[in-house]
Amino acid sequence: MKFSNLNAKEKTASVGLIIFFSLISLVALFPVISLIVASFSPSSDLMRFGLAPELFFSAFTMENFDVLFGGEAGAYWRWYLNSLIISGVLIVISLFFSSLVGYALALYEFKGKRFIFILVLLILMIPFEILMLPLYTMMINLRLVDTYFGVMLPLIVAPITVFFFRQYCLGLPKELMESGRVDGCTEFGIYARIMAPLMLPSFAAMAILTGLMSWNNFLWPLIVLRSNDMFTLPVGLATLLTPYGNNYEILFSGSVMAIIPIIILFLFFQRFFIAGLTSGGVKG
């Protein structure tokens, strides 16, 4: 609808709505913008929390990033690398296993299928926090404390991912599986060569979701990781939040750098993610 076609009352309403949402967007973006501004402001201004974050630079400086890139950042890049490795590996493993489970639940008929699906929904509802103490003792017994694998384990077959793949696969044509069988494909071959390519949008959406969950995951890594060198980015950054430290240069510039991979991942797969969040998730 063109703006010029609207009557006077509608024009006022339209302008009003746009102003309203501009304000909402400003509130939503303000914290992120002020973080970016703070990261380019002199750290002396930030020595104490609470110096006013402004929308404009008081004095533009790169000194915070110099600390980060000049080798004074301590274990920061190690945390970054840990997070990249954990999230990267997790995306691959989790997407592979979860898609297989969701695919089987949607497209095969087998005994116990309903039961397994109910289990998926049930685990979705049990808070992980209830299980974390026994899982922690288990990690100690399996000697997985302070390892990448220990951090990844609980997310490898995330029920939410399985659920999403199942919903998505319900819409795939079963006939293609038959024709694959006629051509002599193995059952796994049918999944890998015929059906997986059709599932690409859901892979994209779940890559973002898994990446986001893993990159921002905090409580479990906090529990299972011990040494500074093994920390993931959120756990490492949290250690800088103490009242005693004066590592605000790293905290601010490092926080900005921490958002970048997730923004890239998001922009790359955005179309699928929004669609994925809103279509597969919940229906009536």
Partner: protein
């Protein structure tokens, strides 16, 4: 070179399981079964078992219900109270405001919807630690901090945000609301796509006002999402830990920031009193279960004939 018959026999001699429609699904779901047994069922039973034990490094002793007797202490009630207040606020804010925003964003008179959607979604991408850093900066203790300048502009006294119960709760709720608002708006927007335009036209012809249209056309269409969001926001609220941790680490003045999960963490992990931590966990599970049931009952999710 192999003949055709040789190739056929080679294929049938290959492990049949690769071609079996009966076995394939079981192999495909096996990672889930394994993960369920190892990472859900076993810890579940183990948590229950642990809650009756005194777990000291190297030895385990069954002590009956005494962990549970210890659970109901003043600190627990503080944690429960904080968590409950947090749940109520986040449920109210994160179900109702996104609904209003989504309805406006779906209005035919609004422009630039993609930009607005994206900008309110961006907070969801930040980790709670990064977001918390920003919030601690904005709501700093000094008079010069942004939030204090803002309220001073309106004639109020500057506030030490992190040091009193009311404002501490405000910070935690504000942080969660800021991060999750956009996601919930998206959910509502998706639901609104299902509302047929004809229904609004029919309502217009009947002379319905805006409220009547909302009650009779819009709300019934988004009610499933409303129920879904209020349920998961409740569960997530009871699970809250990070919003509190980012402001207070594990100790807040007078436990104003202590949550149920924070209590499990400090007792179970920090003080290594696993049995007691597990008992708090089981009590928490019971609370979540009861609250969810009540909520589903009140919202009518159990009524099948609901239209």
């Amino acid at each position: 070179m192999s003949t055709k018959s040789e190739r056929v026999s080679k294929k049938t001699s290959r492990s049949n399981i690769l071609y079996s429609k009966t076995w394939a699904p079981y192999i495909f779901v096996s990672p889930f079964i394994l993960s369920f047994l190892l990472l859900s069922l076993y810890p579940m039973i183990s948590a229950l078992n642990m809650s009756f034990q005194r777990v000291v490094p190297g030895q385990v002793e069954y002590i009956g219900f005494s962990n549970y007797e210890r659970v109901f202490n003043p600190v627990f009630y503080t944690a429960l109270q904080n968590t409950t207040i947090y749940v109520v606020w986040t449920v109210v804010i994160l179900t109702i405001i996104p609904m209003i925003l989504a309805i406006f964003l779906n209005h035919r008179l609004i422009k630039f919807t993609n930009f607005f959607r994206a900008s309110i979604f961006i907070p969801a991408l930040t980790s709670v630690i990064v977001a918390g850093t920003i919030f601690r900066m904005i709501f700093g203790e000094s008079d010069a901090a942004f939030a204090n300048q803002f309220i001073q502009f309106f004639g109020f006294e500057p506030v030490e945000w992190r040091y009193s119960a009311g404002t501490a709760m405000f910070l935690m709720v504000a942080l969660a609301s800021w991060r999750w608002m956009g996601v919930n708006v998206l959910y509502y927007l998706a639901a609104l796509q299902n509302v047929s335009k004809d229904l609004y036209e029919a309502a217009d012809i009947d002379g319905a006002n805006a409220w009547q249209k909302f009650r009779n056309v819009t709300f019934p269409a988004i009610k499933p999402i409303f129920i879904f969001l209020s349920t998961i926001t409740t569960i997530n609220g009871f699970r809250m830990f990070e919003e509190s941790f980012v402001f207070f680490e594990t100790t807040s003045p007078g436990n104003i920031g202590l949550t149920m999960v924070g209590y499990i963490y400090s007792e179970g992990i920090q003080r290594n009193d696993m049995g007691f931590g597990a008992a708090i966990g089981i009590v928490l599970l019971g609370i979540i279960f009861i609250v969810s049931l009540i909520q589903l009952y009140l919202t009518g999710a159990f009524k099948k004939e609901d239209s």
